[in-house]
Every structure is written in C-alpha cells, then in structure tokens.
C-alpha cells in the first residue's frame, strides 16, 4: 500500500487507532481540513461546544468519568488561547487529555500572522508535554506519543499544534511502534521500602491513611479498602481522593484540610504515622506546613517522585503506581508482618469516635430558608449516591465534598488543584457522553455557572439529561465568607444580587427546562421533578446567602485550629451528616 492521504485524514485515522469516540471542539480557519474530514466520518463524533474552554473541560469531564483520554480540537490563536484554563485545570489534577490546536502554515509561524499564537510556548508550563508538528510524516507518531505520554505515569494534558499545511499535506499512513528513551515512568515500588512501610504500619498506635486522587487514577480503590480493613487504619481523603474509599465506610473520616472534618484533621495532627497514598500535600491539606502532623512518621506513595518531599518531610518514600504498590503491601502485611493490632487500634478508633461526637459535621436546618447543605444532602439521599457529581468552585464545591458521601471512584469530578470556576457544567456534559445512562449533576453556584453558561446550547442540542443544581446565594459566596471573617464584612465586589439572571428563563431560552425552589419544602419536589425529566434541567435553589462553609481552617493556621459555626440560639432541629 502506497496510498497517500492528507494530514487531516492521518489525524483522524490515528485517533481511531487510539479508540477515540468523541472529540470536543470548535472550528476555525486553520483546522478546516480536519473538520472537513470529520464531516463525512461516521465513527468519530465531534461535539461542538460553544466556547473552547468548554470543549477542554468537557474532554476533561469525559476523561475523569471514563478513565480514558479526553480529546479536544480547536483552531489557532484565540481558539488555542481559550483552551489554556482547561489545560491548566487538567494539569493540576493529573487528567489525561490530548488537545489539538490549529496553527498558521509553517512558513508563516513567527510572522504575527492572522490568528497566530505561540500556543506551544504558552502551554509549556501547563502541559505534561507539547508538540509542534512540522512534517506530515511525523503526524501519526506524534499522536501516538501524545496519547502515551498523556495516559502513562502521572497522567496529564498534552497539546499538539498542527500547522495548516501539515493537515493539508499528504503522506502514507503508518502506525509506528514508539519507544521514548527519555520517558520511562516508574510503576513498581521498591520492595524493601514497601516492607519497611508495612512494619511501620504494624507497629503504629495511631496511624491514618490520607488517600488522594492517585488512588482513583490508578484504579486502586479495592486495594486501598483491603489495606484499610485488614489493618483497621482510618482513611481520610483529599478533595481529589473522594470516592477512592467509600465515604460511608466506618473507617472513613471524610475529607481533611481547610474545610475537612474536625475528626479527620485531629486524627492527622495526633497521628504517629501517616500513610499518604497518591496525594501531594497541597497547602489546602496541610495548613501551616511546619505544624503539620508533628508526631507522625510519613510513608508517601506516589508515582511522581517530585511529589515526594516537596512540601513535607518523608520517612519512607515509595515511588510507584498506587495499585501495584498497595497490592504488594497487602501481600507483605498478610504474609510477612502478621502482627496483631486489634487492641492498639481499638483505642485509636475510640479516640477518633470521641472527636467525631465532639464536633460532627453539621449545619443548622431552617424551615424558612433553604440551606445549601440541605440541597446537597437531599441530592445524596435521592440519588442514593448513584450519580456522577461535578462541581464548580467555591462554597458549592466544599458543601458537596462535605455532605455528599462518595462511595465509588470517578463519581466526583471537580477542579481541585487549579480551582476553576466554570468547570462543572462542561465537565458534566463530557461525563454524560462517557456514561449516557447515568444521572449526571453539576452542583453549582450562581457565580460559577455564569462562567460557562453558554454550554446550555451544547447540552440541549445533544439531548443530554444533565442536571444543574444552582445553589443561588446571590454572592460569590466563598470570597464573601472570607470577607466576612477576615475583612470586617467589607463585601468588595462579591455581591451579585440584582444582576443574577433568572436562571429558569435562561434555561428555557436555550430550550432546556428551568425549575426553582425558594422554600425548603420545595427542594425535594424540584429535585424529583428534575431527575424524572430526561432533558437538560437547571434548578435554581434560592439559598440562605449568609451560610458559610464550616469547619474552616484560616489560611496559614495548623489544620486542627478550626473555626466552627456559631449557633446563637438553640436550633429547632439539628441535622447531622453521617460521617
């Protein structure tokens, strides 16, 4: 076979070889060749979003929900620069993406041509790797390398910049074997280190596991559960780790850190051993680093060596894939260590129970005004946890993390590292494509939802039954909370009030369904109605604007110095979330 085909055709062939079903994208001048090939193609669907940022977040939501690589395709210049936030979001959370950007013809590169941007230069610090393809003969190999880099080791986004003449040029299609001598991720943990760790765990009187997003990425939930149950070690999770260990499990302490549970933070601070698994000691987790877990030895398992000893001291570093390391660790514990720890653990778990009894995760219910936590709780109860939840960023995100108990991996999609407002809705669209049968709900705020509200068109035209629950407090709530607590209630530019649009009308204008609840008694009927309708639904929950996210560790404080809700008079009814 010596048939030459166009670069655009080679690209599409390569994507099919990689098993791609959906591309999230937006057309433009220099990617016309590619879009033309897609016009006639039956197997690969391009999902047209209404903004390039939406395309990348949708690809990201698809990737997080499915575990596959998400793919986006945009044009040069503004199309490419609009992807930057999406790429940086994926980069911070280690999400495998391959983003294709059009580029002006190779001869014009560097000439400040129309719609030219040095996107390779711009995205260098926020991609795992990026390419500029200068020769059509290199195209298929580049695509293969990009998918390999994006999905292996610690995953991340990869960008491929495609000059117009490369997609127009012709070459034979080949699908070469790749071998990258400069990129060899470490998967197997050091056996000796794992044994050391197992012995420390057996001897520890007050151990705690901190599970992060790495557990979910490597698919190690089963191994983690086995480890925790066998050793009776309680598990707390980072925001990215939620769902990696069942939130309703008796050993689960919920989330730790700035808005973590009191008992999780107390357990970490008081522990004599931390087993950190696939997490990176972000400042939102550690609080004041110097005061973090002062008595604890730290075992740190991560596939990325740079995560280890970056923020905190580590006693037993184990570089490797979480699933493989935990498999070996469980084996070592059962076959070599064989210590009895029941009695020691009992005292520790009792202490944690006492902390939980002292300060459970609560909020004050009201009959008059909707409490946002109440909405999240009702969503959890009505879905029985069997849904994919995305969030925006801010209070909506934290309340979701606190009051929705994620039992399964890949059921919470949230921008943890970068903290991108506007992530949740397009991510929910991507997740719905990955799981057409599942209930997908974006828990949003009135500020965040307006950052990518144009994607209503994408959801409606594709008949996606995505639900958006807007916790509408007419404020940029998290920033307002900080202003209330630390800036003497000077609400500088956080009050949206009269400028908050009518979300019901907006939904309807796009052809979606809009529902509203203004009283607590309306919450459940609205949710039930929304879940019944097989269409895109916006739910506008008009909630108490004064509500704050508690507990809270002020920035720069140790994580056991927490602020709690001040209850003035005795509440009529206090709802307690199960831990």
């Amino acid at each position: 076979m010596h048939t030459k085909i166009s670069g655009a055709e080679i690209l599409i062939e390569s994507l099919k070889k990689e098993g791609v079903k959906y591309i999230f994208g937006y057309p433009g001048g220099v990617v016309l060749n590619i879009f033309d090939v897609l016009y006639a193609d039956k197997d690969l669907r391009l999902i047209l979003t209404r903004h390039e940022q939406g395309a990348v977040h949708a690809a990201d939501g698809y990737a997080r929900a499915s575990g596959k690589v998400g793919v986006a395709l945009v044009t040069s210049g503004p199309g490419a620069t609009n992807t930057v936030t999406g790429i940086a979001t994926a980069s911070m959370d280690s999400i495998p993406l391959v983003v294709f950007s059009g580029q002006v013809p190779t001869l014009l590169i560097g000439n400040d041509a129309f719609q030219e941007a040095d996107i390779v230069g711009i995205t260098r610090p926020c991609t795992k790797y990026n390419f500029l393809v200068k020769d059509v003969n290199d195209l298929s190999r580049t695509v293969k390398e990009a998918f390999y880099i994006a999905s292996s080791g610690r995953p991340g986004p990869v960008l491929i910049d495609l000059p117009k003449d490369v997609t127009a040029g012709k070459a034979e299609f080949t699908w070469p074997e790749i071998d990258m001598r400069s990129y060899k991720p470490t998967y197997e943990g050091n056996r000796w280190m794992i044994t050391q760790a197992a012995h420390l765990m057996a001897k520890s009187k007050k151990p705690v596991i901190i599970a992060g997003g790495g557990v979910i990425i490597s698919g190690a939930s089963k191994e983690l559960k086995e480890l925790a149950e066998y050793t009776d070690i309680p598990v707390t999770m980072t925001l990215m780790g939620l769902g990696g260990f069942p939130g309703s499990h008796k050993l689960s302490l919920g989330m730790l850190g700035m808005h973590g549970t009191y008992y999780a933070n107390k357990a970490v601070q008081d522990s004599d051993l931390i087993i950190a698994i696939g997490m990176r000691f972000d400042d939102r987790v550690t609080g004041k680093v110097d005061a973090f877990a002062p008595h604890a030895k730290i075992i740190h398992i991560d596939i990325d060596p740079t995560s280890i000893k970056k923020n905190v001291r580590v006693d037993v570093p184990i570089v490797g894939d979480v699933k493989r390391v935990l498999t070996v660790m469980n084996k070592v514990l059962k076959e070599e260590v064989k210590e009895q720890w029941d009695e020691v653990r009992k005292a520790w778990l009792k202490q944690i129970d006492a902390w939980q009894a002292e300060r459970p995760l609560t909020y004050t219910y009201s009959d008059e005004v909707i409490k946002p936590q109440f909405v999240v709780e009702r969503i959890y109860e009505l879905t029985k946890g069997d849904a994919i939840i995305t969030t925006e960023v801010g209070q909506n995100q934290m309340w979701t993390a606190q009051f929705y108990k994620f039992d399964k991996p890949r059921t919470l999609l949230t921008s943890g590292g970068l903290g991108t407002m506007g992530y949740g809705f397009p991510a929910a669209i991507g997740a719905q494509f990955a799981h057409p049968e599942k209930l997908v709900i974006d828990i949003a705020g009135d500020g965040s939802i307006q950052m990518n509200i144009q994607e209503l068109a994408t959801a409606v035209i594709n008949k996606l039954p995505v639900k958006v629950a807007i916790l509408n407090n007419r404020y940029l709530g998290m920033v307002r909370q900080w202003q209330e607590l630390f800036f003497e209630e000077r609400y500088s530019h956080t009050k949206l009030n009269e400028t908050v649009p009518d979300f019901v009308k907006i939904a309807e204008a796009y052809g979606a369904v809009g529902l509203r609840a203004t009283k607590p008694s309306e919450v459940e009927p609205v949710l039930k109605e929304a879940f019944r309708i097989k269409r895109t639904v916006f739910m506008d929950f008009v909630v108490d604007w004064k509500e704050k996210v508690y507990p809270m560790v002020p920035a720069g404080a140790p994580i056991d110095q927490m602020l709690f809700e001040q209850v003035e008079k005795k509440p009529e009814k206090k709802l307690k979330a199960v831990k």
Partner: protein, 162 residues
C-alpha cells in the same frame, strides 16, 4: 550550597525553554548554563550551576528528571569530577602595567588571543577559584569587557593502583 548539575537531553527545539521555564516557574536560581551537542547529534548536554539547600537541589534534580525530553540528570557535586570554565577578558592597561598583564597571563597559563595598541584580550580556562583570582588581579589593570562560557563538568574516572 552551589551545585553543578549535568543534564543529558534530546536535541529538540524548545528543550532549553522547558528547562529555563522550569527554573523560573518554580523560583530556582540558574547561576550559569551551558549547552552543546554530544558525540551523538541527537543528544545535547547541559551543565547547570544552581544554588539551594538539599531540599531544593533534590527537587531540582527530580523536576528535571520529570521533563519528558531529559534523558539523564547527574548532580556532579556529589561525584568526583572536573569543572572548567573559560573567560575572555579585554583589558586596557596603562603602559606601565602592560608587563604585569603579560606576566599574570603567563602565570595563569592564559593566552593572549587579540591585542591592539591599547588592549589585550586574554583567554583563561580553569575552575572557579582560578578564574576569580585572575579577574581580581586584572581588575586594577582596567577591565574593559568580560565574557564567560559558564561551567562545563565531567566525572573523573578512578585510576586503579597496580
């Protein structure tokens, strides 16, 4: 503490920018950086001189290793190695100092590579201390221009006693 790190990289465009971007993005220092091809034209070697405590240096070497185009990172400071740097110094000595300049150049095993009525350009190769000493001695002679290559380093091979 100052460290000399030797980095073997794929000879592709953008590699230098990835490395310098890593240093600037994470707030690390580059004191000097030199790049050149190896015997294999597809591979380049960079010698980076940087400073930081043990934590920082460990992060720098790990972060460098993490970059996709980097084949190998060696912290030369931990190994027995030879370091060299070359400087070109253009001095404009007064008539009465000319002999001293030539004399010092001789002592430091330097070479005069250019001269004019008013100036000498001297090439000096050596380690950091030697170069620093030479520069100090030339300073009173009137340095007009001064360029340096940045350090290069190579490990020493042990010699076995017979």
């Amino acid at each position: 503490m100052r460290h000399t790190i030797s980095v073997l990289v794929e000879n592709k465009f953008g590699v230098l920018s990835r490395i310098s971007g890593l240093f600037s993005g994470r707030g690390y220092n580059i004191e000097s950086l030199s790049v050149g091809e190896t015997t294999d034209p597809q591979i380049s070697i960079m010698t980076i001189v940087t400073t930081g405590d043990d934590w920082v240096i460990e992060q720098i070497t790990k972060q460098l290793n993490k970059l996709i185009d980097i084949i190998k990172v060696t912290d030369m400071t931990e190994l027995d190695h030879v370091e060299r740097e070359m400087v070109l110094v253009k001095v404009a000595p007064k008539q009465e100092n000319k002999a001293e300049v030539l004399n010092l150049t001789e002592i430091f095993r330097g070479r005069i590579v250019d001269s004019s009525q008013k100036t000498y350009t001297i090439e000096i190769t050596g380690d950091e201390k030697k170069i620093a000493a030479f520069v100090e001695l030339m300073r009173p002679m009137g340095i007009k221009e001064f360029v340096r290559t940045g350090k290069v380093a190579i490990t020493r091979e042990g010699v076995k006693k017979k």
